[in-house]
Subunit: 282 residues, 2 copies
Amino acid sequence: MISRSAKITVVGLGVLGGSYIKGFYQAGYTVYGVDVDPQAVAYAEKMHWIKEGSTDASLVQDSDIVISALYPHVFESWIKENQHYFKPGTLLTDVTGIKREIISRINADLRNDVEFIACHPMAGREYRGIQYADCNLFTKANFIIVPTDQNTEAAKTTARDIAEILKFNRISELTPDQHDSMIGFLSQLTHIIAVSLMNVSDNTHLVDYTGDSFRDLTRIARINEDLWPELFELNKDNLVREIDAFINEMQNFCDLIQNDDVEEMKRLLRQSTERRACFDRK
Amino acid sequence: MISRSAKITVVGLGVLGGSYIKGFYQAGYTVYGVDVDPQAVAYAEKMHWIKEGSTDASLVQDSDIVISALYPHVFESWIKENQHYFKPGTLLTDVTGIKREIISRINADLRNDVEFIACHPMAGREYRGIQYADCNLFTKANFIIVPTDQNTEAAKTTARDIAEILKFNRISELTPDQHDSMIGFLSQLTHIIAVSLMNVSDNTHLVDYTGDSFRDLTRIARINEDLWPELFELNKDNLVREIDAFINEMQNFCDLIQNDDVEEMKRLLRQSTERRACFDRK
């Protein structure tokens, strides 16, 4: 397990970075926090979640572990500008929601004496900012480690330790390809469905007739507009393929309705019912 | 309010009809139940939800109020075959999920001395059968009365009384056109989205990576395959229009991703976030 004397620094104190420092603090670890926003730093200090915070990247000096909770393009430029502060042997990890591109871009820039191990904590909220930090998010979430053949066993162990300290429900390993394919379907396609359902027409006048089905389907239509377009762009091939397949499936069902093909509709409803049963919480 | 000495008979003791008789029973009303399945009748009797049950439609004789909780096409044929049992002045109502077609078909067949007032309790479960009856469903659900100019004020009042006795959260009136348009978007389109998402590929191997977003989005993919194709067919014009519009919206978003149009994506995500905020529970 990670030594309690290790210096851990979280860079980016938004809702997810904030939940990380809160979780480390509650587990008895000493963490440091960097953010461009002095109010986020002040909030983290006021809550005692960090020992010290700064808007200045030089705070990462001497860190054993640096965790980026930055947006993908910010992460990339931040590393270029600030990796000279890292001590040799620092382990760098992240929270980015797509993996192939971020791994290749960060590793292309990164010093040879610093190791990057990519991680994706599959947890988030519909609200932004450190004031919404909540490490209870993690207790029912997946933590996915996405190693490459350049990663050491020690780095994988540390990534797993982070997930255990933060009390993630399930820890697994995927390749970058597996990860981005899975996330394209389970997360990105579903967010675009919810967004499209809200945008297709202004149906806010229907609010009084809205039941749980519609609310459940559109909860994730409340979305961070600065983050997600980046994630979509960085997984374009998978996502476009998933959207195309989904549109074809919807069009097929529409054709069945138009052709009064009740038997084929029944077959598809039976299939969806059977498959959905596999996703019931155990 | 409906007199406690009124004879109320519910025809069709599935999950919804079962919840109706349970709700009436708990409110102190004496109800009767008819179902083709002797086990459903026996269950209702064992639970004391009905004073008397039968597989024979003649039980509706002398009823002041008859409530059909049958599938649409069964409702239609049941009325043709059994309306001769009704006493003059019986009020007939229903629970059907689409309204234009059912109103015109039932009224085309119905005796002149019986009045039909169409109602749609917007409540349901992903499970079928009287053993899943649960009148707590109603306390957060909408009850929609769908009168025509043939309906009397007395019938509308009785429909409202039924909703109040069953403790529906909100009671409203819509025209048949308004109702079917609303339901095509809020309910039918959303079910087809959930079904299509489950059917687009067999992703049950992803169950370990699935978070709340995907589960929320697909909860309603568990669907009664005998009922819903009927409801889709009976609202075909509205539903096909809604599916087409939704597919266009998805295709538009896909084009933005392919064209790297981040600014327009951001605008759409902001719009969906703002609209979704209107649907938060007060």
